[in-house]
Subunit: 326 residues, 2 copies
């Protein structure tokens, strides 16, 4: 069933059928004739043919490090919800944090395939930036600031700063930090900088050295908490870059017979479900992950529609979750 068949059955030209679907000039009788034939046959125009002709795929590429992660899952959820309200579809690519794959997908999407890309990488190399510069389709970065690029991201710095100040405000003085690799600008570098500045402003710049680096797993948080404790014996608070690390840290501390939160208070970030169900719940930061995805799509739609006044950078808010405070 193609447009020629329909036009024949309806006794009109192919152009008329095309106009029927694209709101072109068409008389009421022909419109009705076509409508009937379309209804009977269940005909739907071929997307590929339309795409070839119009150069619009109505698909956007979504590149993420993984999908089975609470934070990224929410971002993707946000992306998809707005996306198909706008009649677009998502081509999902998972990179497993492999920069090579990121570039690969970026270039695969780049030339064709999709009308735009939402990129949620972690580490951006110079090659990334070069590729983004001369991308033929608009790209929006989600979850990270990148100079010169459209991006929506969280206020990682102030969130961690505030979180750390909460610790200091509770009289916790001897703080340690479990963070992510510094190459990860948002979760790694910015959050650690927030911690450093907070302890410095609190009068204890030397705490900035009480820092170890974990990956995003609970197991890694567990392991690195051991390293942190070996580094400095008498902590009374540990701030972590993510809830998963924090949960691992709590487990380790309790295994060592340390009472949490009485002896050592632990904070994560992300307000993951797993943090909320700990007993007692973790101190944490709520970031607006779904919103991040939603805004990313809106920015992209602005770029696609060549709408003026398009947003170039959006920094999202956050709030501290302190179970003891409620």
């Amino acid at each position: 069933m193609n447009i020629a068949d329909i036009s024949r059955m309806a006794g009109v030209s192919r152009a008329a059928v095309s106009r029927y679907f694209n709101n072109g000039y068409i008389s009421e009788e022909k419109r009705e004739a076509i409508r009937r034939v379309v209804e009977e046959t269940g005909y739907r125009p071929s997307v590929q043919a339309q795409t070839l002709r119009t150069k619009k795929t109505r698909m956007i590429g979504v590149i993420v490090p993984k999908v089975a992660s609470e934070s990224i899952g929410k971002v993707v959820e946000g992306i998809l919800s707005v996306l198909n309200k706008s009649g677009y579809q998502a081509l999902l690519a998972v990179t497993q944090n492999d920069p090579q794959k990121e570039l690969e997908y970026l270039s695969a999407f780049h030339g064709k395939q999709v009308d735009g890309v939402i990129l949620s990488g972690t580490v951006f190399t110079p090659e990334h930036k070069r590729m983004l510069k001369n991308s033929s389709v608009p790209v929006v970065i989600a979850g990270q600031y990148l100079a010169g690029q459209c991006a929506v991201y969280h206020d990682d710095y102030h969130a961690t700063y505030d979180l750390t100040r909460v610790f200091l405000g509770k009289g916790r003085r001897k703080l340690g930090y479990i963070g992510a690799i510094p190459q990860d600008k948002a979760v790694g570098a910015e959050r650690y900088r927030g911690f450093c500045d907070a302890v410095r402003d609190g009068g204890h710049p030397e705490f900035a050295a009480n820092c170890v680096t974990a990956d995003f797993s609970v197991a890694s948080g567990h392991e690195k908490a051991g390293e942190l404790l070996a580094k400095c014996k008498d902590l009374d608070g540990v701030v972590c870059a993510t809830d998963s690390m924090a949960v691992g840290a709590v487990q380790y501390l309790r295994e060592q017979g340390i009472r949490v939160p009485e002896q050592i208070l632990v904070a994560g970030q992300g307000d993951y479900e797993m943090a909320r169900v700990m007993g007692p719940p973790l101190v944490t930061v709520h970031y607006y992950y779904e919103k991040c995805g939603e805004v990313a799509v809106q920015m992209l739609m602005d770029l696609l529609g060549h709408r003026e006044g398009a947003m170039k950078e959006v920094k999202l808010g956050y709030y501290i979750v302190d179970p003891m405070q409620v």
Copy 2:
């Protein structure tokens, strides 16, 4: 830059360039000439044009209820990992458990767009089945058995049966159950049937009535645990259809001053991270979610390649996670 430009620059016919990319007969010199031009220009054949001509999109549609869920996230992760090893891409559609949307996407994918579909719905209506019957592209169901359809699913029945027997084996006699809606064949009906048969075989068929229905949230588990307890006062064990429900239930019980697991032992299913970090961890069932996604893709690839001996139904295993047993 199209194939005509390249052929002109390389001094060959368009067919030769096409053959260059599709391993057709081509002499070494022409191959080299084309290679050089392609390299210089960075030319890549247009996917849409290829698709229009060949009727192969090398995309498959993935329909899921949501993505920010540990179990579904893992399934999607599994799907994607195998998929792009096979050179396919995934068009992701999220239905938010709306059967209408499922049908909509199914029909959108159906006629065209994708070479195949992986459907991970929860409730299948007669209309679903009708639609699946006369789908023009192969469909694989993930996470649920559906007669006459290619499907990969978990052994929900035996898992819950075994899990319940573990409770009985521990001397827990007065059991309650928090389940999902019976329209959800896998997580709702099958798991509940496993529970019922286990308590019946254990000599306590009357426990089957100690059942309430929750949705998949922690909050719902919390609420429904209250209803369950109001229903029968003196439980010593609660089996749940998912870990999220179980975590909610544990929270409720502890709020009521009930010691968990001493007074009431609680089990979930799914082996979610949040279950493992509870203190002490939940009894739960490990299902192979990633594997489920991987197998679904393999089945689909078999169907696509018209390979004989294609798998039609795959039932996956499971194991019980009993923290007290380790």
